[in-house]
């Protein structure tokens, strides 16, 4: 038993790094994911995952295969797309997700054009968004930095975010500072996603961020508790996913996301709040009475 859980991490440095990376990412993906769900922006992650492409491409053209530069490029374009989207939705009456869709699609097209014009036969997306097994020192520092900044930012705007998650008008009351809070939140979202992309790959990163958060909503109505739960689920998914990848030779990214998926399905069926089990009990009680 000890061998099963302990030995992989004790014997191999790459497993240790992967574990640390997934724990750190799990820590921030909880609150960020839950807040996204609360604000009905569960799919924003997918949009942002595509918005990073042009920046990564430009970064690659300038500095070649340098992880920090690629990450910075990705961060800048993703942030630009997120801020433009929220800026447009502040000024006009269009919803934020509509503007986000518009901007990320343009960014994606620009990114694909840049990559194909450059004509590199190295698959940029693969290089940039590699496997959690390939996490090196630089990547760990980037992840730790992104995690720290995200947590501090979240703490600063926590109260405003909490209020506005229930009632968007709440944010409007705050006026300018409310808008700043909203944009700071988008900054944390982008930071979290870029950190995740570096290690998990674009598609899988969204899974680690959103699945635990959505699962946590089946267990608690209270946002802080849901955030803690989501972080716990994400860390658990990371750990179990890595062990699965180790013992069953499954690709690491999908193994982690599938573990999170299993947690989500379990929560969906037997969660204490709004789950299928609760609904069944309630409807039978209904009929009985």
């Amino acid at each position: 038993m000890v061998d099963f859980f302990w030995a992989p991490f004790a014997d191999f440095a790459f497993m240790q790094r992967a574990l640390v990376a997934s724990l750190a990412l799990g820590l921030i993906s909880g609150p960020v994911g839950v807040l996204l769900v609360m604000r009905r922006m569960s799919l924003a992650g997918d949009a942002i995952s595509h918005a990073v492409l042009p920046g990564a491409a430009v970064g690659y053209m300038i500095a070649g295969m340098s992880l920090p530069v690629l990450g910075l490029g990705a961060f800048i374009t993703a942030l630009l797309v997120a801020l433009l989207a929220s800026g447009v939705s502040n000024v006009t009456s269009q919803r934020e997700d509509a503007s986000l869709a518009a901007f990320y699609l343009m960014a994606l097209a620009i990114g694909v054009t840049l990559v194909s014009m450059h004509g590199s036969n190295i698959d940029l997306m693969h290089l940039l968004f590699g496997s959690i097994l390939a996490v090196d020192e630089t990547a760990l520092i980037l992840i730790a930095g992104a995690t720290t900044v995200t947590l501090i930012l979240l703490a600063m705007i926590w109260r405003v975010l909490l209020g506005s998650s229930f009632d968007p008008l709440f944010l409007a009351q705050y006026g300018r500072s409310g808008r700043v809070a909203n944009q700071l939140f988008m900054l944390t979202v982008v930071l979290t996603f870029v950190a995740c992309f570096q290690t998990l790959g674009t598609l899988m990163a969204v899974g680690l961020l959103m699945l635990p958060a959505i699962a946590a909503k089946f267990w608690s109505r209270d946002i802080p508790i849901a955030c803690l739960l989501a972080s716990g689920f994400a860390m658990l998914s990371g750990t179990i996913g890595l062990l699965l990848s180790y013992h069953a030779s499954l690709p690491s990214g999908p193994a982690i996301v599938l573990t999170a998926g299993v947690i989500y399905l379990t929560s969906l069926f037997v969660g204490t709040h709004d789950s299928l089990l609760i609904h069944t009990i309630r409807s039978t009680r209904h009929r009985e009475s």
């Binding site: 790459f14 497993m15 992967a18 097994l133 996490v135 990848s245 180790y246 030779s249 690491s252 990214g253």
Partner: protein
């Protein structure tokens, strides 16, 4: 010394002969159509046939002969061929049916005729120590591909052969046999040009022989512990036997699927256990993975080894001899202290 001079002399003789005899025929030479199964044979045939042949390769440079899917165009090329050159040893599992369906009825040359075949089973098992403490199923899998897979359905990643290793060209002495076989086939197809073909072949075989000797001189002096290498190809059995390099297979490592933590761990364990010096495992999905392995084990990551196909024309391994030399350089670069 005479060996070096003889081909030169015969060229001289021949060119004089040609000058004297063939001015009227020269315009009439219409190259015969030769179809080869893959790029290495195509290059050899071109070297030997020169202007007398027009060579088409069914599987082109940089392409994988294992996953080849014949198209009607390939069948047409075969139907128009005067000579077809294949490797044999079960390398081209798809060739028999393709030849039959194309209606080709010319000269079929098996280039590997006369080489001493190597069993797949012999290659690694004798050298890899048993490892009872961890999963050696990957190892078994690797070999089972060679042994049991039904020839009709093995499109996946291994060859369509029973249990011999078909990559005989990875030993330059076999390369000389290949060249001789191709020479004989070309002569049979156009006996009128016997002399010209013989001269060109002789010259080419000599080139192969010289490279073989050079390779031996470069690799043999290395101390045995340096010559331990892991590859993801199981294509270097003949190379290992000829030049005394120990190749270990990267167990369960596949270039075209996403890597799992288990794969990484297995590979790292092997490197530590076998005291391997260099790693030639290609996984383009993420070069950083290879860097992690290097960091964790101190092994050196080598460049690309060419096994079954030449590189694109104009690049560093676009002929058989250049390909071979490039492999030797790559290996030396990785293992030399």
């Amino acid at each position: 010394m005479p060996k070096h001079i003889r081909p030169l002399l015969s060229i001289a003789t021949l060119s004089t002969l040609l000058l004297v005899v063939t001015p009227s025929h020269a315009t009439e030479i219409k190259p015969i159509n030769v179809v080869t199964s893959f790029s290495i044979l195509a290059n050899m045939t071109e070297e030997i046939g020169g202007p007398l042949v027009s060579v088409t390769s069914l599987v082109g440079p940089n392409s994988d002969a294992h996953v080849f899917n014949p198209s009607p165009a390939h069948a047409r090329a075969l139907a128009n061929a005067d000579v077809v050159v294949i490797n044999g040893l079960g390398f081209e599992g798809w060739i028999d049916r393709l030849i039959k369906s194309s209606g080709f009825n010319g000269e079929l040359a098996v280039a590997s005729n006369g080489v001493q075949p190597l069993d797949f089973a012999d290659e690694h098992e004798s050298k890899v120590p048993e490892k009872p403490d961890h999963d050696d199923h990957g190892h078994k899998d690797k070999h089972d591909h060679g042994h049991k897979e039904a020839p009709t359905e093995s499109h996946a990643d291994k060859h369509d052969h029973d249990d011999v290793d078909p990559h005989a060209w990875q030993d330059l002495r076999n390369g000389q046999i290949y060249a001789a076989n191709i020479r004989d086939a070309l002569i049979a197809a156009m006996p009128a040009h016997r002399d010209q073909i013989t001269t060109r072949a002789q010259q080419y075989i000599e080139e192969i022989r010289v490279l073989d000797q050079i390779t031996r001189e470069r690799l043999e002096p290395l101390a045995p512990p340096l010559k331990r290498i892991i590859t993801s190809h199981d294509a270097f059995g003949y190379f290992a036997r000829a030049y005394d390099i120990e190749f270990f297979a990267a167990q369960g490592w596949s270039t075209d699927r996403e890597v799992s933590a288990g794969d990484m761990a297995t590979l790292i364990r092997e490197i530590r256990q076998d005291d391997v010096r260099a790693l030639f495992v290609e996984n383009m999905s993420d070069p950083r993975l290879m860097e992690r392995i290097a960091e964790e084990t101190g092994v050196r990551i080598g460049g690309k080894l060419y096994s079954d196909a030449l590189s694109a024309p104009g690049t560093q391994a676009d002929t058989y001899l250049k390909m071979f030399n490039s492999n030797v350089n790559t290996i030396l670069q990785a293992i030399e202290p």
